[in-house]
Amino acid sequence: MSPQVYDVLIIGSGASGGMAAYTLTKKGVKCLMLEAGPAVDLQRNRGLKPVYELPYRGFGKPGRHPHIVQANEFNANQWADEAEHPYTHDPDEPYNWVRVRMVGGKSLFWARMSFRLSDYEFKAKDHDGFGENWPISHADLAPYYDRAETIFRVSGRKEGLPQLPDGVFVEDNSPDSEATLRIARAGKPHGITVTKIRRALGNGQLASSFNLLLPEALETGNLTIVPNAVVREITVDRNTGLVNGAHFVDRKTRREFHAKARAVVLGASCLESTRILLNSKIANSSGVLGHYLHDQFYIPNSVVAIVPEARNGKGGRRLVGGAGYIPRFRNLNGKEKNFIRGYAFDFHTGSTPDAKFFPCWGEELQKELRSASGAGFSATAMGEVLPRYENYVTIDKTKVDAWGIPVLKFKCRYTDNEFNMAKDAVETLAEVCKSAGFEVISRTEKMLPPGYSIHELGTCRMGDNPKTSVLNKWNQSHDIKNLFVVDGSSFVTGGSQNPTLTILALSMRASEYLAEQLRKREF
């Protein structure tokens, strides 16, 4: 039996792998996609259920997902199970590594927030001297952002803000509620601007690799998807030094396979891609593979308030309701605070604050909740985490996963820059809420452990210097020219914006470059 040699082996089927497949197959490139998890049938694998039918009344099986704050009894089966997919960290430095393993990956579950990075991020070092610039600018990525926004149908309102570049939007012309306008007015003296959220509409139900990228790639006839293929390592041709495929193990049978290809694209998610490279012992002449791990710290319910005029059912759509976004406003013109970079908020009005925020119980609590019903305001603070060499992942040689593959060990902690930023964020927003006439009932600057935002970035960063970066400006390994890494691991800095749109644009750009390299038979 003579195994097929594909043009490109794509590892991972989420946003980055899906976009690579979409882009490459449309250019006639024959691709094999390996996905570590199963194929899912969204009709069969999920369904509506009343919470009382769940055996744990919605609490979930105790202890099943110790690191996944987002897990509940409805979604417990969608997350990768830590018993099969372990990882390690020191007890005093927890990391919440949240993973999904199925065709479509995390793009089946993301919040769809779709923001561009600006040159405040791409050229961050020019602004404050910290870290490194990206080897590309917003102008380099803009044409790919345009196309990714079109495919994913991103809704938004053009604002003309340099720190949050506008895109190709499905125009959101809905009026802002009075509560949102009050936040905007009260925030103005602080330099705050309030925008519409920018959200991928997709087909309405779903905005995922699963429905927007993979079907069109399959239609070309150039894509083969193999689920349940857990990649053990990428293989190298000893004669050429180029990668030539990957060893993988079948998730269910544990049978071993090898797939061959002229080039390899890693899009297995930030830390899984890095883990595969570390286990393969390749692409690390710089010594920085695994380093500069960062994400965004998220503080849900950083400020919780009540819009007094909306109490006792007097709200209504004109007064409260809907979501808004406060993009970064700190340190845009030099260092203004005791931290560098900045933070953003997304907020919602018209909800009911959780019972825990009311210091009472019984009938009194019920009365409070009735009064506050639909009158709530809450905001999630989202702050940039500095990419530091000292925050990293490495292979833990003492532990393997269910397939015998060595796991990652995390060494990651936030620093004063993040803590000072969080303090400023909460103090500022609480003040804005009070100025807007809201009753602030709770505020907190306490962060959850790193990883909680599910926006892990870095560890395989791009750059012009092969001694300080793993990839070049085309997401191509400095060391091995037919190896590309197209997911969030390639980020140099992450800003406070949700990263998926940038991942999509980067993957599209890298894949077009790769297709051209293949056409020229560069490898």
């Binding site: 069969r44 999920r46 919470v51 009382y52 039918e53 099986k61 019972a355 019984g362």
Partner: protein
Amino acid sequence: MRRRRFFKAIAAAPAATALAAQQAPRAASPGAASQAPAFPGMGASAQLPKLEISVADDAAQPLPRFFNAAQFSTLRRLSEILMPAMDGLPGAIEAGAPEFLDFLIGASPADRQELYKKGLDLLNAQAKKQFGKAFSEVDGTQAAALLAPLREPWTPDPPADPLARFLRAAKQDVRTATLNSREYATASAASGGRRASAVGLYWYPLD
């Protein structure tokens, strides 16, 4: 607990569809045998039966077995105070919240078990010290004095005091166990109300 009957379409949508798909005939050539029955004598469109079934807590009493008798009676009284029946809707007792929490906490990691056991013991001891009676026998005014830690504003870090920490956890858990019960959903639906979070998109275990 009130006995009820209800219909559950166990063979409904997901499972039935999958089974039917597996058993559907494969046509040797387009159109040729596409109408062949799945089984001799059974038409391709035959319906699979939907069985009427019940669930254990409709048919039997749950047996509390994690907390000791004193702890459980303390939990019952605490649940009743935290989440009484109101506005024609069941409270924690009617919703079987104490029995459910006995099960849930019994299945929980050791630190959660310790939080509850110690918290219930402390609450009971405090009742005896202050009022000379078990917590299960205190009246509303006495209970309010004992639950004073719940008057403190919410903080992201749990309180250092073990009783305060327990009370905060119990307030949330008793409420959730009540609101997410079948009893509450049934009564709420009957009164025309509807809890938005009562129905969710459930992911079945993946193969």
